[in-house]
């Protein structure tokens, strides 16, 4: 039972009052931003990064993680009640959740989603508990070549799996890589791209970039969006689903847990894709697929379970390999680096309290969220009435003042505004901000491990293919890179034969629309 000792010790970390408090703060904030359309979890985490400076690493990550998985719970509420997905990962919940609400079963839909989320989340934590040390143990032998390949693959997958133009996402990633090189070259000590500025000599901090591109960029972008007025119902009754309904949805919840868990681990995967995949799977499996879109409980329970399971399991690559699987995890990575903790395979061994503290805090967080989503759901339904026009200046001010507190300097505030403009323009012109931030975070790791590997290989790039793991990863890299080209060639050929296949899958279209919100 040696394995379980650190796991149990992790609970004592979680139960420290400070950590419990931050867990509560995190999940409440997560639930709130999930309920309020506009800011997504990534933007919120970016804006709140300065808040984590003053606390222990484990406390900081407990809170940020709470925001992330809390948002998965909260996003459901607006999907069901208003037909407005609060989060991208709740888009598919709209289809059946809103119909259930129309049939007077809003409470049931919310209750099923909450219970599904809880089960999915908890199952994923248990999976994480057993899988993470295994992956970490496997990755302990990774050397610079493996890390170069892994980082490259991670960036490529995040860029290509995200919605929108893949070329543009890759451009964003290359900008992130270039931004990461600003400052002193770690090998030679020479200045790069500093243009003689003293403030740039040490490189650009991660926090102003994240706060600007994710936070302020999204705030500015939302100013433009005509927020549809939402007529929020004043209360929701009977959120406890009946035994029959639960039994009916249990299959969907079980499948959603497993599907979400595995999709969350994959780089570029995550909550949004998991929820869409689960919806598609439930519809395919159903005996009467025509019920979907007309208030099928499985259409709510499955995706909501899957998005939560995925949100939890996407911590695995971050905490065990040090490779963030999506943009939100890139923010966690940055937050850990600020705290002087480098996520990687050694984390489980060297910082067991941090690792197990964060993992186990998720049990508590999920219980808190279940309480907030069932008995306390009325409070959050009432929060739906807060107007975007009032929230916008508040979030903008939090961003500006928060940015100042990082180093007590106006330079950081200016940087945040500059990157805010960049983030806004990127969104306008269809460039996803996620890959930029991810590439920025991984840039230094990628460069240094690439250069180290080349030193080992004596400057011969074919050396990467002499090691099995780096060779496999690079082969996948090439495959993923070439795939879209091949696919579009095939599609082009098909299009000439059958032009009528344009009808398309509604699920995908809708999801792409809302994806920009992440």
């Amino acid at each position: 039972m040696d394995f379980l000792n650190p796991v149990i010790n992790g609970f004592s970390v979680v139960l420290e009052p400070m950590n419990l408090l931050y867990c509560l703060i995190g999940v409440v904030i997560g639930m709130l931003i999930g309920v309020l359309p506009g800011l997504g979890p990534a933007a919120t985490i970016a804006i709140l990064l300065p808040l984590t400076y003053g606390v222990e690493p484990v406390t900081a990550i407990i809170m940020l993680a709470g925001i992330f998985y809390g948002a998965q719970y909260g996003g459901t509420i607006t999907s069901v009640l208003l037909r407005l997905p609060g989060e991208a990962s709740s888009v598919v919940t709209v289809f059946d959740g809103y119909q259930m609400a129309r049939q007077g079963k809003a409470g049931t839909a919310l209750g099923l989603a909450a219970i599904g989320s809880f089960i999915g989340g908890t199952a994923a934590i248990i999976g994480l508990t057993f899988l993470a040390p295994l992956v970490a143990g496997f990755a302990l032998d990774f050397g610079p070549p493996e890390y170069s390949a892994l980082a490259m693959l991670g960036i490529l997958l995040v860029a290509t799996i995200s919605g929108g133009s893949k070329a543009k996402a890759l451009i964003a990633a290359s900008v992130g890589l270039l931004l990461a090189t600003v400052g002193r070259d770690i090998f030679t000590g020479e200045s790069r791209f500093t243009f003689g500025s003293i403030q740039l000599a040490d490189g650009i901090d991660f926090v102003p970039i994240a706060m600007g591109i994710f936070g302020l960029g999204e705030i500015l972008y939302n100013l433009e969006e005509r927020h549809r007025a939402a007529k929020a119902p004043s209360k929701v009754s009977n959120v406890w689903p009946s035994k029959g309904e639960l039994k009916h949805a249990s299959g969907a919840i079980g499948r959603g847990s497993v599907l979400g868990f595995f999709l969350g681990i994959l780089p570029g995967g995550g909550a949004t894709i998991a929820s869409m995949a689960s919806y598609a799977m439930e519809k395919k499996r159903a005996k009467q697929p025509e019920r979907f879109g007309k208030g099928a409980p499985e259409g709510v329970a499955g995706p909501e379970t899957a998005n939560n399971a995925a949100a939890t399991s996407s911590f695995i690559p971050l905490l065990t390999l040090g490779i963030p699987a999506n943009a939100t995890m890139a923010l966690m990575f940055g937050a850990l680096l600020i705290q002087g903790v480098t996520p990687g395979p050694q984390l489980v061994e060297q910082e067991p309290e941090l690792f197990w503290g964060v993992v186990n805090s998720m049990y508590i967080g999920n219980i808190l969220l279940l309480i907030m989503s069932l008995p306390l759901v009325g409070i959050f339904v009432r929060i739906l009435r807060v107007r975007a026009a009032i929230l916008a200046p508040i979030t903008a001010l939090i961003t500006l003042l928060g940015a100042y507190t990082i180093n007590n300097s106006m330079f950081d505030v200016t940087l945040v505004v500059v990157f805010g403009v960049v983030g806004y323009l990127m969104k306008k012109f269809g460039f996803e901000p996620g890959p930029l931030v991810l590439a920025f975070v991984l840039g230094e790791l990628l460069e240094s491990s690439l250069r180290r590997s080349l030193l080992v290989f004596d400057g011969d790039p074919t050396g990467f293919f002499t090691r099995p793991i780096s060779a496999t990863l690079l082969a996948v890299f090439v495959l993923v890179a070439v795939m879209p080209g091949i696919r579009s060639l095939i599609a082009k050929r098909k299009r000439t034969t059958a032009a009528s296949a344009l009808a398309g899958d509604g699920t995908n279209n809708g999801a792409n629309n809302i994806k920009e919100k992440v």
């Binding site: 709209v94 129309r102 133009s165 070329a167 543009k168 890759l170 451009i171 290359s174 900008v175 890589l177 270039l178 090189t181 070259d185 090998f187 030679t188 790069r192 791209f193 302020l216 500015l220 100013l223 433009e224 005509r226 927020h227 549809r228 007025a229 939402a230 007529k231 879109g293 007309k294 107007r387 026009a389 009032i390 916008a392 200046p393 508040i394 001010l397 500006l400 003042l401 100042y404 507190t405 106006m410 505030v413 200016t414 505004v417 806004y424 969104k427 306008k428 012109f429 269809g430 460069e447 690439l450 080349l454 004596d458 011969d460 509604g506 995908n508 279209n509 809708g510 629309n513 809302i514």
Partner: protein, 191 residues
Amino acid sequence: METTPAVSAGRDGSTAVTPGADATNDLPESLTPEQLAAQWEEEKPPAAGPLANAASSLVVLGVGIGALVLSVAMGLGTLSAPQPGLWPFMASCVMVALGLFQLILGRHNRDAEKFTRMSLAPLIGLATLATMVALMPVIGFEIPALVLCVIWMKFLGGETWRSTILISVLVVVAFYAIFILALGTSIPHLF
């Protein structure tokens, strides 16, 4: 001045009841996912034309080529003995190649959004943010923050004067209490 009437519609309970906005809220009874997706597609902001796509590609190309030239100036070295410029050189090569690809093949993509009259709102928002950054070291954060709140709520958000002023004052007082009194940060402040 561009306002967003939809935001303020009929929520105050007292004054701002716009019957039109309420009518649009009465969503049609049943929409299939496909119809719903189509509806979202329609509500999306208009897509920008090829000119905007070309412009963004040219900016990417410009930045990429700039970085490329600077990287070469830093010295490339060889793969076994790299100079500081080699890695940025590789990254900027990727950027230039993708920029060219985007310029030639991505012109007719519809993923860029047109700048409309609504885009005035972020512009004004940005102006207030920039002003605040400029004024904060001089006169502290309180007055610029108050002005920012008023502009964002009243003119960009279409709130009523009453709620704008009430909430703006509350927000600034709350921030003062949190950042100055409670956390004791050194944010420049007037009072």
